[in-house]
């Protein structure tokens, strides 16, 4: 391992000047080992989230209530696969291979967003995920377009362009149900009740329990703290919930004139850590499904390699 002590001072200086100027670090630039490691962890976790994130919604592909909704959902799930691929490519520029990344996901050595460990028993969940889960992802991702690592920032720009469709289709789906029967309105409310708190947890632990944030911000990898982004998300969601006609399940949620922001209730961090550590309702199922897809695809990967080798000779 190279530490800052072993490398030429002009390399360190050049890295720090680039970061100081809010310029981008590119793959073959020298970078501190900790910077590289932090990026691999963050980008991999992000890529895995996109890939695992296909499952909760994929659950509804064959049962979408109309051809229109089915086509939309297919396009959205396909986008998430694409997001995963952009991010895996960015991560590979840091010297890890795609295969290693997939293996680390399956073995549990690397994590993905805890939100995807919740089940989607209702069709309304497809709408709620688009509105709240993609909405939270957008809040997280927009500032990452300016992250200090070039390939990561470029992947985020592509992703952000595609996310707004995801959020809008979800919100529109919920609006349609809210114009329907009492039963449909109840389905929407029940779904929002289940997803609101896990969506708030997507921003990660509170700032005073997030030991890596300061260093990540110094390196320009992160641009805002978890709590800043969470607050922004709450403030954006409240008027959207009103327009939709649903109640966000938090009796303490109210506008604070003094702060110019909404106050909200305490998040159940025990639940968050339980899900992160594998104890959520669907953790085992999600990984088992990914592993099955990977194992079942092995013969296709091998056959394509054999075909390419034969065609080349």
């Amino acid at each position: 391992m190279t530490t800052v002590d072993d490398v030429a001072p002009e390399l360190v200086e050049s890295f720090e000047t680039t970061i100081g100027h809010h310029d981008r670090i590119e793959p073959r630039d020298w970078m501190p080992e900790g910077y590289r490691r932090t990026l691999v962890r963050q980008i991999a976790q992000h890529a895995h989230s996109e890939i695992i994130g296909m499952q909760p919604e994929g659950n509804w592909l064959t049962r979408a209530p109309s051809l229109r909704r089915k086509a939309i959902l297919l396009a959205k799930v396909q986008d998430e696969a694409g997001h995963g691929l952009y991010l895996y490519s960015a991560c590979e520029t840091l010297g890890v291979s795609r295969q290693q990344l997939t293996e680390m996901l399956i073995s549990g050595a690397q994590k993905y967003s805890s939100i995807f460990n919740y089940p989607t028993p209702s069709w309304a969940d497809v709408g709620t995920i688009g509105w709240l889960v993609d909405g939270a992802a957008i809040c997280n991702q927009v500032p990452l377009c300016r992250t200090s690592y070039g390939p990561y920032g470029r992947a985020m720009i592509r992703i952000c362009k595609e996310e707004s469709f995801h959020q809008r289709q979800g919100y529109e789906l919920l609006m349609t149900m809210m114009r329907g029967t009492d039963e449909q309105r109840e389905m929407v409310q029940e779904s929002v009740d289940r997803f609101w708190w896990p969506a708030l947890m997507m921003f990660g632990p509170p700032d005073d329990d997030s030991p890596n944030t300061a260093q990540s911000m110094e390196w320009g990898i992160k641009r805002h703290t978890n709590d800043e982004l969470r607050q922004r998300f709450v403030d954006m969601s409240v008027p959207q919930a009103e327009a939709l006609g649903v109640t966000l399940p938090d009796p303490e949620l109210r506008w604070n004139e003094e702060r110019g922001a909404h106050d909200f209730g305490a998040i159940d961090w025990d639940e968050f850590w339980t899900v992160v550590k594998g104890g959520g309702p669907c953790n085992a199922q999600r990984i088992a499904h990914r592993k099955r897809a990977w194992d079942d695809g092995a013969w296709v990967r091998e056959a394509a390699t054999a075909f390419a080798r034969r065609s080349a000779s």
Partner: protein, 102 residues
């Protein structure tokens, strides 16, 4: 070429760099990379991964291993020769403001 990197140790599909012409009249621009078993598969995957919304009218794919790259360092001596040749820029020449069409 920023995305160029060494082939990883595992036997996996090789890496390709993808270039897309956004519309007629524009250059092909590097958009990202992907893995594929061969050139034809790389093209097909590039279409699915990088042009799902009419982002292109033409795609080039090239094996990353076939790209020769300069060092990305801004102080690279490779770019030094152009540094002191200011006379290559139109602004180097003083022309009176009242001379038309210049």
């Amino acid at each position: 070429m920023s995305e160029v990197r060494a082939e990883p140790p595992q036997a996996q599909w090789p890496l390709y760099e993808v270039f897309v012409r956004g519309k007629r009249g524009l250059n092909h621009v590097h958009v990202g990379s992907l893995h594929a078993a061969d050139d034809q598969m790389a093209l097909r995957h590039a279409r699915d991964v990088y042009t799902r919304r009419n982002e292109g009218v033409s795609i080039w794919v090239v094996r990353s291993a076939d790209i020769t790259a300069s060092s990305p360092d801004e102080k690279d001596p490779l770019f030094a020769p152009s540094g002191d040749k200011v006379y290559r820029h139109p602004t180097f020449y003083d022309i009176p403001a009242d001379v038309p069409h210049m």
